[in-house]
């Protein structure tokens, strides 16, 4: 379970990203975070991953109080979370297979396990034949799916996806959303930040609408209601 209690986040330049936000995401849920740019979607994902810390309030992810943990506990937390970053963060000098494998090496798996699971995840996202390709050789949609494969490696409990359909056409975007839906059906909690109404409307999942760092609505349904 992910729980935000009265969380506020203000950046050093004075920008208020979140203001007294309270949010609870249960295990197994599929939650869309929607809203315009600067609404606080990415900040929520970064806080869950403990890339940044809140100025006030409490964030709990399972047993971890993110303001209090450090060192090894942060490592444990991040191993529970797969993340598709907005800028993907695929390493350009590594093949797609090696990029996916990275998430498994950090878990201490052996070479055979790493290779088998990396290939399995690439197959899951429809990139089975592209493991030896480098990021520069793939299209935008393929890169997004490669990033999802890396996020899924190690079977994390939570999957955070920051605008995973942001730079792809509708067809590829829809493929990505279907992959995330399937992952969610398999038991992974998915939190997806997006400003694409089409995918949100079709899936009919929980939608948390944000504006200026505050939740303006939180219910199952469509992008705008």
């Amino acid at each position: 379970m992910i729980k935000f209690e009265n969380v506020s986040k203000k950046f050093p330049d004075g920008t208020v990203a979140l203001e007294d936000l309270t949010l609870e995401i249960n295990d197994g849920e599929f939650v869309f975070l929607v809203g315009p740019s600067g609404a606080g979607k990415t900040t929520i994902l970064k806080l869950i991953l403990r890339e940044i810390l809140p100025n006030s309030g409490t964030i709990l992810v399972d047993e971890h109080d993110l303001k209090k943990i450090s060192g090894g506990k942060v490592v444990q937390l991040r191993r529970k979370i797969g993340c598709v970053f907005q800028d993907l963060k695929l390493l350009p000098d590594r093949s797609i297979l090696e990029n996916v494998a990275l998430s498994l090496w950090v878990l201490g798996k052996n070479a055979r396990e790493v290779e088998a699971e990396s290939k399995e995840k690439l197959e899951l996202v429809g990139l089975a034949g592209k493991g030896d390709f480098f990021p520069a050789q793939l299209s935008g949609g393929e890169l997004q799916r490669a990033a999802i494969a890396r996020a899924l490696a190690g079977n994390p409990k939570y999957l955070l996806a920051d605008e995973p359909t942001g730079n792809v056409d509708d067809e590829n975007g829809w493929k990505i959303v279907k992959i995330l839906e399937k992952i969610n059906e398999d038991g992974t909690t998915v939190v997806m930040a997006t400003h694409n109404p089409e995918f949100v409307d079709k899936l009919h999942k929980r939608v948390v609408r944000l504006k200026d760092g505050k939740i303006i609505s939180d219910r199952r349904g469509k992008y705008r209601e």
Binding site: Q76, R78, R79, K89, L91, D93, L102, V106, R150, G154
Partner: protein
């Protein structure tokens, strides 16, 4: 660990010039280190050899022909210094020694007879400090024509070797410091170049050891390769020069150098080089990879 080794190898392979620079500076450092180690051990052996040799030799005039004639003085020396050993060399024995040493030169052999050479008494002490008393006794003994005294030679040698050791130590400290800074700089550059990769590793849950391991291993390998290369060069030089030095230094029991001893030197060098490399990379990791 196999993955860490693979990553380390990739780090080194993808920046070969930096790796070569690090290995070369470590090779130079270890070359000087091993050279001074061997020089120090060799000189220690030389000193021991010299100290075991007859250090005071009294040469008698022609009236002394047998050991019985100098019994009193030998007893006096032994009474004052119980640890000494003495050996009387008669004229005939002196001739035999002379003939043995100059057997390759018939002209020299023809010129010398037993009567030409003096009888002598060789006195060996355990410590150089005992020599002055023995020297005094022999100098004041009747029928002694001359006393050869090695104290000054040994002391000069000790002084020279001490200076060489101190100079060597200073040079080694300088080179180790240079090597540390070189490795620190190279690993630091690599950390900066790989900051995106490090960021991703951390975000996907890599432990501190996972992130730092390859950099520390890289430092170790620079030291390891530097030690192995320098040892190989030095051992090669030793093997080449040994046949040429044996006629001069064979009596010192230094040459030929034992392969087992050289393997021990290799082990110690690899350990020392590895430690220097790891310390250099640890400093870089500590400086550039705080959190």
């Amino acid at each position: 660990m196999p993955h860490q080794l693979t990553v380390t190898w990739q780090h080194m392979r993808r920046s070969p010039y930096q790796a070569a620079a690090a290995v070369m500076i470590m090779t130079l450092t270890m070359f000087v280190g091993i050279s001074f180690l061997l020089l120090s051990l060799g000189s220690q052996r030389l000193l021991s050899y010299l100290e075991q040799k007859p250090q005071v030799i009294a040469f008698f005039n022609d009236t002394v022909t047998s050991a019985d004639q100098i019994k009193e003085v030998v007893e006096k020396i032994i009474t004052t210094n119980p640890s000494v050993t003495t050996k009387f060399i008669s004229k005939e024995e002196a001739l035999k020694i002379y003939q043995e040493r100059n057997k390759a030169d018939p002209l020299l052999l023809e010129l010398v007879t037993a009567n030409t050479l003096p009888a002598s008494l060789e006195v060996s002490a355990k410590s150089v400090a005992d020599l002055p008393a023995i020297y005094e006794i022999l100098k004041n003994t009747a029928n002694v024509e001359d006393v050869s005294y090695q104290k000054d030679v040994v002391n000069t040698l000790i002084s020279v070797l001490d200076k060489i050791r101190k100079g060597g130590l200073a040079l080694i400290i300088f080179l180790v410091t240079t090597a540390l800074f070189t490795i620190l700089t190279i690993i630091g550059m690599k950390i900066s170049l790989r900051k995106d990769e490090i960021e991703v590793e951390k975000l996907v849950g890599a432990s501190s050891g996972f992130v730092r391991g390859p950099f520390l291993l890289e430092g170790f390998f620079y030291g390891f390769f530097g030690a192995v290369v320098s040892w190989t060069i030095i051992y090669g030089i030793i093997l080449v020069v040994t046949p040429h030095l044996l006629p001069f230094l064979g009596g010192l029991a230094i040459l030929p150098v034992s392969p087992v001893f050289m393997l021990e030197v290799l082990g110690a060098s690899v350990l020392a080089g590895g430690i220097v490399g790891v310390i250099g990379s640890f400093l870089a990791v500590w400086r550039y990879l705080k959190n």
